[in-house]
Symmetry: C2
């Protein structure tokens, strides 16, 4: 019988925490021009990334991030026992086409923009359970493929409202490896897997409001399960709530007796500068993925931060569900990262 | 350090195999009228399942299969530590809306019609690794939502060619539980996780041909990793290759030195009768899911079979990738089931 690693209602505390052996971020030019531009590993100047369609372009971002993460981990592609990957496109086309050349066993995952949290959680479970030495976890998004998928073709040049977000063009990839003797690494110490939370909000131009209740639910459950309070983290970082979602999140959490306002950060708010005209901030699977691999892990590696709660946030909608008048439920997955 | 459960290049052999505590199948009327109709747990007479859209209908099939599987397992919803679920719709809308009420931590997965294999694999890894006592793994498909998603609106009444398949309306759900003292149960003994295999086939009306190479790859790798030959299984069962894909699969495997023709079965070929006018057979995530939960597990439970290799097969396409002229790569995941 395996060791029981369950913690509280919804969490896992890893008995032998897996660590991040290597990570890479590949972004587009708009992301490179933002305040975190210097942190990203590679900048692709061509929005099509040499491809023939936006979907193919997004797949090429994944391919490059995957190859670079594997290289930075000091590994070969064959060392990856599994890939856990997903994206926002219908039927995960960026992953399905972007990862063909890697020829590795694949678990395709979908958690909307929370996908980086889901792929890290599953990769951690696989490695910590002894099922693999190394697992590649990655995700991507692309402004143009996402606008085409969820909103309007770019050629319409439609206006964007204040609560709208700008989908990040980029891919972040992480090699998660089983416990080793190596020190000075960022470890995945625990996970709190989110539930679908539906507050009945129906505005696909206000995804922050749709996702904030799910983020609050995951963060509060994480506090309860681990017995920590908000002050015990250097940062609590959500994926892409944006300016509107941020306020809602802090308010919901405050109403539950916790205050995260002091050490809270949202990848979507951070990734672009105010002058970049992105309304409520950045969004997309790639947003939290490139901020994790580009910035957050570097802050942990350099010991500026020691403990971070990374909480990618997803809005569960499709163009069909939206046009049929459904609400937009949210989901969020919390990943506890520690520099050890 | 966790026990190493890796086997060969691509497989896991569980040290303490998880078992199937309960399973349920909910199907539509066409499936109930087929040769396996008597085996399915519930038949929904209304194709809309009381919903307002085909997508909502598919979600309701998932909800019912989930509730029934949990009940048949003798569990409560709260006993499910995780749900691992997916479907064919863009952004997994059937799972996202169908599973809201269950309020359990969710890993959304996508492997096209191989999704039941993927969800069983991840559920097994989670339970065997000590991360949960019970995990609910499920998937669904719906003829009308799939036609709308991938082909033509039903109102067009378009003709179907000989190699086309008919998407199964139904959902299959399984409660996977950690090793216990219970005997006389079907155990998940091992898994062989598939890679994306692309033979460059571009015909979305001939998905069997797209998926057969991936199924062959997973089955042969499974034989190699486990050191078994085809005669050591009572049945080797693919998801939805249909009549065209079956011949291709047997030929590819024969060329590699194995003969599975004697004990081979395809859920897609079996699920409908010849008089039901379904061309090459059934397909969809729900096809292998309801045949597993309706028929295959019952054959194992009653000791008619002792060892089955269950290999759901997926075609990785979207309406966008197809219309952009891309090929249709395949993926397949092999699950080794034994009655113990």
């Amino acid at each position: 019988m395996a060791e029981n690693k369950q913690l509280g209602k919804q969490s896992v505390k890893f008995a032998h925490p897996p660590f991040i052996r290597g990570a890479a971020s590949v972004v587009g030019t708009k992301e490179a021009e933002g305040p975190y531009g210097q942190y990203f590993d590679e900048v692709e100047q061509d929005p099509m990334a040499g491809g023939d369609s936006w979907e193919e372009a997004e797949g090429k971002f994944q391919e490059r991030a995957a190859e670079l993460a594997i290289k930075k981990a000091g590994c070969k592609t064959e060392d990856m026992r599994y890939i856990v990957a997903g994206d926002l496109l219908g039927q995960l086309m960026a992953s399905s086409f972007g990862l063909i050349k890697l020829e590795r066993p694949l678990f395709g995952v979908y958690g909307a923009c929370s996908t980086m949290g889901e792929s890290l959680a599953i990769a951690s479970i696989i490695t910590e359970g002894g099922f693999a030495d190394n697992v590649l976890a990655l995700t991507s998004s692309h402004f143009a493929s996402a606008e085409k998928q969820f909103r309007f073709p770019l050629g319409y040049a439609n206006q964007r409202n204040k609560s709208a977000t700008w989908t990040v063009t980029g891919s972040g990839a992480v090699v998660v490896s089983a416990e080793s003797e190596e020190k000075n690494k960022v470890h995945i110490v625990g996970i709190t897997t989110g539930k679908i939370i539906d507050y009945g909000i129906k505005d696909n131009m206000n995804m922050g409001a749709c996702m904030a209740p799910a983020a609050a639910d995951a963060i509060i459950q994480h506090f309860i399960d681990f017995g920590y309070s908000s002050g015990q983290y250097d940062k609590i970082i959500t994926g892409d709530l944006g300016l509107v979602g941020k306020d809602i999140l802090i308010d919901i959490i405050r109403a539950r007796g916790y205050d995260i306002s002091e050490n809270y950060m949202d990848c979507g708010i951070e990734i672009y500068g105010k002058e970049q005209n992105v309304q409520s901030g950045g969004s997309g699977c790639g947003c939290s993925a490139v901020m994790l691999t580009g910035y957050i892990l570097k802050m942990l590696e350099s010991m500026k931060w020691k403990r971070v709660l990374f909480v990618p946030t997803g809005a569960l909608l499709s163009q069909v569900s939206f046009n049929e008048g459904n609400s937009v439920p949210g989901i969020a997955h919390a990943i506890l990262l520690e520099r050890r």
